[in-house]
């Protein structure tokens, strides 16, 4: 810590220390003001209790309003066991009974009694923290307000001198932060709590009006009083510093993954699926969860229009068995009407549930239902925080949204928040309407620009082959007709080939037959020739013999002559 940095005392109140960069100013008084029922007393008490339990700083609670018994009972529901802390000597709840109606005042007086009493209590337990709730009650008891004011100023100075970190509560007045303007004495840190009802939804808000010597967010931060005390929900207090994962996860639809650069969504990204009613958004969402569970990851499904049983049944009809994941503890449903909680309550509940279950993916189906919970600005702010929160935890989120709602600016806003935007719509034509899906936006990945027909089959969602006709992508029966046509053309080609094959075989057979005939002729001829060749010499010898034989037959010569002539080889 640098020398210049103002030392701070962490309150331990969830989220508050984030938005103040460490808590309230240490050793100085902080004013917490707001209307009745805004949670001032609880804030102050939590500051003390967490100071004791988490930071080992004993504390004194000076109650001017509620009796000690009431206080103990009121915070017991939040799990604060004041009696135990008191018996441990870490906490003193000192209830100061302020007389109703002005006291008789004669002459000069001061609040030394309060100082001494408080000082003794602080010393008794070595308190580092002090709460004074609500000191303005004193204005009802003392008629000389000039003296009272100067004494209060002295009180705050005294607290500062003692080095205790103090929280002083004050009730909001007309046109002023506090009814009696005590904010002018507590100048280091002023926190305003508020409790507003807009459009039938109540929202608690916290604002840091002033924090001397420290940077702080000036936004109004929603806060909730939950089962474990106050939770302040920071609006992107950390800025955009999410870890960007390059890891990809499947959408659950193989061909959709292919459209998204072959690999699916980025892990930890936010996905919007928008479309008109009945386009299969919920099914896409459920299949996304199914894919996560198949990978052994946990998935959380927030449904605002259907019950768990309905979703499981509907998905079972397309053979996607979600019940097995529920049984295996991988999938958890939270089905409720969004107006049950209110906008901030919704965000808080999501944060709490996600914190508990630690899922890898979540689905909000449909996020457009949330738009009815507040003004567009509120919804946008809430969604921003939701997406930031999920991203910071590396949770991949899928939001479905009715297209008609996307037109509203609140939903437009989510379109700019998300990383991937899939649009599902129906195309009407040829007397039918068909579902198509396309990627409107996909940050940081190569993606398909194609409009794909989207089929709900017996095995969930599938993307059909693309048929591009004269009028663009063909869908439904036009696609089927095209498929049939292509199939028919294919068959014809097949027939043709087969025919050609047969012809070729036949030709080969005929060629072979012809060759065989030619061979046969040739062989006959060659046989003859060979025979002739081998018989040639015999013929020459025979001619003489033949002639002799002929002569004998003709009786031309006497036998002896014939014999002589036979012995004469030439010249005959």
């Amino acid at each position: 810590m640098s020398i210049l940095a103002l030392p701070k005392a962490p309150t331990g109140i969830s989220g508050f220390d984030d938005v103040t960069g460490g808590g309230v100013p240490r050793g100085r008084p902080t004013l917490v003001c707001g209307p009745a029922g805004c949670g001032k007393t609880l804030f102050a008490m939590e500051f003390l209790v967490r100071g004791i339990t988490e930071f080992d700083e004993p504390g004194v609670f000076v109650a001017f309003e509620e009796s000690a018994g009431d206080l103990v009972a009121n915070v017991a529901s939040l799990g604060f066991d004041l009696a135990q802390l008191e018996s441990d000597g870490k906490l003193v709840v000192d209830h100061v009974n302020v007389p109703t109606g002005a006291l008789d005042e004669v002459g000069e007086w001061d609040l030394e009694g309060l100082f001494l009493r408080l000082g003794a209590t602080i010393d008794a337990i070595g308190a580092k923290r002090v709460v004074i709730d609500t000191i303005e009650v004193l204005f009802g008891a003392f008629s000389n307000t000039a003296v009272l004011r100067s004494e209060l100023r002295r009180l705050f100075e005294w607290l500062k001198d003692r080095g205790v970190t103090a929280v002083i509560t004050g009730e909001r007045g007309d046109g002023a932060l506090t009814r009696h303007g005590i904010e002018e004495y507590v100048s280091d840190c002023v926190i305003v709590l508020d409790h507003r009802v807009t459009e039938q939804t109540s929202t608690r808000r916290l604002r840091i009006l002033k924090y001397r010597g420290s940077s702080h967010g000036t936004n109004e931060y929603p806060f909730l009083i939950g089962k474990s005390g106050i939770s302040v929900l920071p609006v992107t207090s950390v800025g955009l510093q999410h870890h960007a994962s390059t890891e990809r996860i499947s959408s659950g639809v193989a061909r959709l993954d292919a459209m998204l650069g072959e690999e699916g969504f980025f892990k930890g990204s936010a996905i919007l699926v928008s479309g008109t009613a009945g386009t299969g958004k919920s099914m896409l969402a459920a299949q996304f969860c199914d894919a996560a569970c198949r990978r052994g990851e946990r998935a959380m499904y927030f449904a605002f229009e259907e019950s768990e049983a309905e979703i499981v049944r509907n998905m079972a009809s397309v053979n996607i068995d979600l019940a097995q994941w529920v049984d295996a503890g991988l999938l958890r449903f939270h089905c409720f009407r969004p107006n049950l909680l209110g906008l901030e309550g919704h965000l808080f509940e999501t944060l709490r549930l996600v914190g508990e279950f630690d899922p890898a993916v979540i689905v909000k189906d449909p996020v457009s239902d949330l738009l009815r919970l507040g003004t567009e600005v509120d919804v946008s702010a809430m969604l921003t925080r939701l997406v930031d929160f999920l991203k910071s935890r590396g949770i991949t989120s899928l939001f479905s949204c009715l297209t008609s709602e996307v037109e509203r600016s609140g939903a437009q806003h989510i379109a700019s928040l998300v990383d991937t935007w899939l649009q599902v719509q129906t195309i009407v034509g040829n007397g039918e309407h068909n579902r198509v899906l396309y990627v409107l936006k996909a940050r940081g990945m190569a993606n398909s620009n194609q409009i794909r027909e989207f089929l709900i089959t017996g095995q969930g969602i599938e993307l059909a082959d693309v048929y591009v006709g004269d009028e663009g992508v063909l869908t439904g029966s036009a696609r089927q007709a095209q498929e049939a046509k292509e199939r028919a053309a294919g068959l014809a080609r097949e027939d043709d080939l087969e025919q050609r094959g047969v012809e070729l075989t036949r030709r080969r057979e005929s060629v072979e037959a012809q060759v065989a005939v030619l061979w046969r002729d040739f062989e006959t001829e060659s046989e003859l020739v060979e025979r002739l060749l081998s018989n040639g010499s015999v013929g020459v010898e025979d001619r003489a013999g033949q002639r002799a034989a002929q002569g004998r037959l003709r009786r031309a010569d006497p036998d002896d002559v014939l014999a002589i002539r036979r012995n004469l080889p030439v010249g005959t």
Binding site: P99, L103, V106, G107, E112, L114, R117
Partner: protein, 108 residues
């Protein structure tokens, strides 16, 4: 300082014991003034029938809880009942008497 005349016959009121308690803080001027003023008042108007208990919160701050003491000095009329609480250094005797609902003793 007398406020008119009154019947001098002693009544129950005139004889009952007044029990007073004064909370002070050490030797602060206001504390000392208050004690001095109270003592004077009692001697004048409650002669012989008063009992003053002085509690110094500097010595024992926890005593402040007994009567929910915030302001110093604080005077408590414990008896006669009902209890009454007066703050301040009691520098104005007539107002103190009025606040204590104490009828001034007849002058003289």
């Amino acid at each position: 300082m007398s406020i008119g005349t009154r019947a001098s016959t002693p009544t129950a009121e005139d004889t009952e014991i007044w029990s007073l308690r004064l909370y002070v803080a050490g030797q602060s001027p206001r504390s000392l003034n208050a004690l001095a003023n109270l003592t004077q008042l009692c001697e004048q108007h409650l002669a012989g029938r008063h009992d003053i208990e002085t509690i110094d919160l500097v010595d024992d701050p926890s005593r402040a809880r007994d009567d929910d003491i915030l302001a110093i000095p604080t005077l408590i009329r414990r008896l006669p009942l009902p209890e009454r609480k007066i703050i301040g250094d009691l520098s104005d005797i007539p107002r103190t008497l009025a606040a204590l609902r104490l009828r001034p003793a007849v002058a003289g």
